[in-house]
Symmetry: C2
Subunit: 396 residues, 2 copies
Amino acid sequence: MKTDTFTIPGFKASAVAAGLKKNNTVDLALIFSDKEAVAAGVFTTNKVKAAPVLLCMDHIHIGKARAIVANAGNANACTGKMGMENARQTADLVAKELGIQSNEILVASTGVIGAQLKIELIQKAIPDLVRNLSPEGFTEAVKAIMTTDSFPKMSRFDGMIDGKPYHILGIAKGAGMIMPQMATMLCFILTDIRINVHDLKKALSTAVEASFNRITVDGDTSTNDTVLILANGMAANRTMNAQDLEMFQKGLNQVGIELAAMIVRDGEGATKVVHIRLKGAASEEEANIATRTVANSSLVKTAFYGQDPNWGRILAALGRSNISMKEEGISIWIDDIQIVEKGMGLGPKQEKKAAENMHNKEFHLTIDLNQGNHEYTMITCDLTHEYVSINADYRT
Amino acid sequence: MKTDTFTIPGFKASAVAAGLKKNNTVDLALIFSDKEAVAAGVFTTNKVKAAPVLLCMDHIHIGKARAIVANAGNANACTGKMGMENARQTADLVAKELGIQSNEILVASTGVIGAQLKIELIQKAIPDLVRNLSPEGFTEAVKAIMTTDSFPKMSRFDGMIDGKPYHILGIAKGAGMIMPQMATMLCFILTDIRINVHDLKKALSTAVEASFNRITVDGDTSTNDTVLILANGMAANRTMNAQDLEMFQKGLNQVGIELAAMIVRDGEGATKVVHIRLKGAASEEEANIATRTVANSSLVKTAFYGQDPNWGRILAALGRSNISMKEEGISIWIDDIQIVEKGMGLGPKQEKKAAENMHNKEFHLTIDLNQGNHEYTMITCDLTHEYVSINADYRT
């Protein structure tokens, strides 16, 4: 996708290097809506919530927003009252410079946990940040929210309602501490669609459930997970009917799923992306639990890394996931190669073929429990030497 | 401990190289009780149970046993009817050679999942196995059950009841797929104490709960976890009173805890052993869940490897563990160095001191939730490059 397509009517963005990251690259991003936008958000379920998450949850209550300010380099998590004060001051300073109300600003942070934000660096950077705002600013803004990410993550969808075009633009960051439960690291989605706040909230929850809640890198849920959506209504479409909403939902899901898959592709140290589909579960909840247990098993993930169709580890993970299952009912495939039937391995010949598929960067793992009609999908990655290197050395 | 102390009145052991392991080392072990022994066992809670586990659960019903036969190199798990047949035949063959009943034999296996046991190799090896039985055979038998273990694990306790000495000897194996729930990999405990089967069962469950259920290497519960205890009564002690039972329990716990700690010390790729103590939880169950979540977090475990007192990751793990907690109530120590008070970091000076403690091979992590009076302890290890190497290459 060409970067010049990353504009969206009525929104501007910018980024500056405020000095919060060690390497003097851009680390402070601003997204601005020319007019008041309808706004919704989904946040981490971690009981330890970062200050910007708490502030965002407070501000988004009014159902509208004008701007998002986000920094990388410091998560402003586990920072107590001073952290809350710093988040609030960030919003105040940006609001003042933009000439809008503080509660119209949504705030997000990502980076090291447990260190106080250097608010004076942010304060110094804000005039430039506002001055740089431009419709083409999104390609810089997405870089400013990267931490251990190795590439920026953007996705766009173009739709049409009653002959009127509308657009969805999403930017996201995330590579580690990824097992979102109701949200993922940072993701900002902008649309020019005209939509009411009730429908927008519902659409966002649905999209998040189908995308960010279906990925895992390391099973660790972040303290800062935030997905925000702003809809400025500039598409001037008719009041949406059920079919319009359905089409918008499809587009929003697509953007969410694309960004979520990018996060797994960029999973810390990952060399493989594995699309897991578990079917035949007795209930939706059991399908979820079983898939999540397989997707997070260190032994399954190191076998992915070793390109080894080690289905015994998959059965062992299913067996400890505490779902209703019969070993002798289970079938397993790697892409289109079946390696387990009725709980038994189909032998070295099939495993060799499966191992060949595992040489690809992306492959599918399909599990049939044969217990019922419920299924679940997740995207996971392998567990590698590089993951250990990144996370043993992160702060030092 | 000197190996010549690894004998126990009335028990013999032996080992042979049957050819089940690739490297032609001992891989088949036999433990024999000269007289009928009272027997109890605790087994994996994984719903996928290996054939020898199912057979053992069946045989142990009678509350007594004469022998344990165990092999490494093949777990005989996920092997269907033929696997069950092979486990049964192993017991039959050993029983015949020993001249005892088949249901007096307990069977255990460990190694690769999903491959059929080569029963003809076992059949060929059994005459030598029985011929080699000797009171000094335990040091060889413990080697025969090793897989990725780097050292044999034995522990002994000497007790006294009413002036009469008795002994407890335990041998164990395990290094990966370790997060026992009601049991661990393989552990065989022998004692010459005279005890009834009811008291023995209760004592074993208590000891397992205090030892093997408190360790984790990689959060994966094995399909083959088995702890067996045989008591031959040769100590000829009086019928045990409450105080005798209490002392026996203490000894049994000590043997269990020693062996469990050895398993973590030998955790695949581990360079650090971390004793986690979580106190101040609202309930026993929450103490368990919270401790387990911290002990299994990939991010916490890589921080241990990096010798980094990264308490933000510990708070994040607690926060996603879904227990009742207040961030601002939490305190954290590495050994005697406090690094978090009331949810806030105590700064770089304290962290530097804590990091120095983390240079040791073993250290303590203490967490106080300040929510109640319940506590839990677990022993975990770090997540390292070597863990990834071992498990990416295990079958290839």
